[in-house]
């Protein structure tokens, strides 16, 4: 029976021993050990989180790079396109100007030719008039001397000279 009857003395010593053990271990063992364990776990968690963050940043950076590259490519493309356009425009403009100039020159030349022609015609007319007067003079003179001769002269002269 006394196997299952708690002995007061042992209860007393167990209680005291246990409370002392609890106090000492709590203060000098559990606190530092649990503290260290949880500090390390926090550390690991933080490290993982920052690694994840770094990875994310890296990805972002890569995406940025990609984007910038894309933009640069697009810009280059645009610039090239612009340049081509400008060149074409320039060429077109130059051609147009040249055309214009050429046509002006041609116009001028035609105008000059026309005026020269007119002047030449006028001169010719005056020449022909002069000649006609000369001829007329000579004809008159010849007629005046010999009627046949005069006629023949007029005919010759007319045969020689063709009016244009």
């Amino acid at each position: 029976m006394d196997l299952i009857t708690p002995e007061f003395g042992l209860v007393f010593w167990t209680l005291i021993t246990f409370l002392v053990l609890l106090y000492i271990l709590r203060r000098f063992a559990w606190k530092p050990i649990l503290g260290a364990v949880s500090a390390r776990e926090e550390g690991i968690k933080d490290a993982l989180a920052s690694a994840e963050k770094a990875r994310q940043e890296m990805e972002n950076l890569q995406a940025d790079n990609e984007r910038i590259l894309q933009e640069a490519r697009a810009e280059r493309e645009a610039m090239l396109k612009d340049a081509r356009e400008i060149r074409e425009q320039t060429i077109a403009k130059a051609e147009a100007e040249a055309q214009e100039k050429a046509s002006k020159i041609i116009e001028k030349a035609q105008a000059a030719i026309e005026s020269e022609k007119k002047a030449a015609m006028a001169e010719l007319k005056s020449h022909v008039a002069g000649l006609s007067i000369d001829i007329a003079e000579k004809v008159v003179q010849g007629e005046l001397s010999n009627k046949d001769k005069q006629l023949k002269l007029v005919e010759d002269m007319l045969g020689e000279t063709t009016l244009n």
């Binding site: 006394d2 196997l3 299952i4 009857t5 708690p6 002995e7 007061f8 003395g9 042992l10 209860v11 007393f12 010593w13 167990t14 209680l15 021993t17 246990f18 002392v20 053990l21 609890l22 000492i24 271990l25 709590r26 000098f28 063992a29 559990w30 606190k31 530092p32 050990i33 649990l34 503290g35 260290a36 364990v37 500090a39 390390r40 550390g43």
Partner: protein, 365 residues
């Protein structure tokens, strides 16, 4: 490593067996009939001295190797302290120790004070002394108390040096003994405290849970070590009673409104049911720690009793031929007991944690 452990186990079991054989011979060669029950109960119960071995038994120069421990008793004549060696290994009430004007005898490892004018103890039919009484208080440092102190010395050595390791180490990397201790501490935290009590409240109970876990475990282990196995600390009902009482007190004081409501006025059931459940819940409050107390006591004591009973077979049959059977069976039981040491410590701790968890659980209806 495994081989070494196994070899140690075998040696331990053999050693254990011999220490019992030695003891059993003690009562066998005195001419009395060998009484396994008395031998077993004597081993399982507490004693005033720490008996280690007896040399030259039954001869002239018989030598008992014993660590004498102080007997501290308080009677109506005040405090009396003397060494247990004064009893000269007698526990049948023959050796009378006179101290402080009183006569003390050791009857089955219980100190009795002889009544005035009595010079010899007389017994009734059940073997209880009739002319002697127990002292008012018996605060002797018995072998269980002694072994308990040895066990806490070992615990302190292990855990304080482990804690010091962390202080020395940079970035909290465990080294040396801390590497051995840490998985156990983390096990108690992650497998016992957190699931039973909950992520938010478990921290308050951690020191208690860790302390009972290791305190029970180490005392269970010490109970299995031969030579020291006389002390069956965790298989003593006083020990388990104290720990269970502490768990009960902590549970009761950490009980919140929800906990008490569940005991006295169960929510969510009809009124007659509430009245019916109330006494059951009140009884349950006390049954829980009592079950803790009995479970640990019975498991550890049973283990000791089985091993001792197997050893007693040799002396019951009075033949050496029985020895191999006894040794093999007790080896088998010892190996199981080694597992039981950890399991019982775990069960005590996890159930304590469960009770704390029930006491602090928040309503979630």
């Amino acid at each position: 490593m495994t081989l070494n452990t196994f070899r140690n186990l075998v040696l331990a079991a053999l050693f254990l067996s011999f220490s019992f054989i030695g003891f059993a011979k003690d009562s066998g060669e005195e001419g009395e009939k060998f009484d396994p029950k008395e031998m077993i109960l004597h081993h399982v119960k507490d004693a005033y001295g720490m008996h280690i071995a007896t040399l030259n038994e039954g001869k002239e120069n018989e030598l008992h190797i014993t660590i004498p421990l102080p007997v501290i008793v308080y009677t109506d004549k005040g405090l009396t302290v003397f060494s247990s060696s004064a009893f000269h290994h007698d526990y049948h009430g023959h050796e009378i120790v006179e101290r402080n004007g009183q006569k003390f005898v050791n009857v089955h490892e219980k100190v009795y004070v002889l009544d005035e004018g009595v010079s010899e103890v007389s017994y009734d039919e059940e073997g209880h002394p009739t002319n002697a009484h127990r002292p008012t208080l018996d605060l002797s440092i018995t072998r269980n108390v002694f072994m308990m102190w040895v066990s806490i010395a070992v615990l302190l050595l292990i855990f304080l040096s482990a804690a010091r390791r962390y202080k020395k180490a940079d970035n909290y990397v465990p080294s040396g003994i801390a590497g051995f201790v840490e998985p156990l501490v983390v096990f108690v935290r992650d497998e016992i405290a957190k699931p039973m009590i909950g992520e938010h409240k478990y921290k308050r109970y951690m020191p208690y849970l860790l302390t009972i876990f290791f305190f029970i475990w180490i005392n269970n282990i010490f109970g299995l070590i031969p030579v020291l196995n006389g002390a069956n600390v965790s298989g003593n009902i006083a020990f388990t009673f104290t720990l269970a009482a502490i768990t009960f007190i902590i549970t009761t004081f950490s009980g919140n409104k929800h906990y008490w409501q569940h005991i006295f006025w169960m929510p969510g059931v009809p009124v007659p049911m509430k009245i019916f459940l109330m006494p059951i819940e009140i009884i349950g409050m006390f049954v829980k720690p009592i079950s803790l107390m009995i479970r640990l006591f019975a498991n550890i004591t049973a283990g000791h009793v089985i091993i001792l009973a197997l050893m007693s077979l040799i002396f019951v049959f009075k033949t050496v031929a029985m020895a191999p059977v006894s040794v093999i069976f007790s080896l088998f039981i010892t190996v199981i007991e080694i597992v039981v040491t950890a399991i019982q410590a775990y069960i005590f701790t996890i159930l304590s944690a469960l009770y704390f968890g029930m006491a602090t659980e928040e309503a979630h209806h």
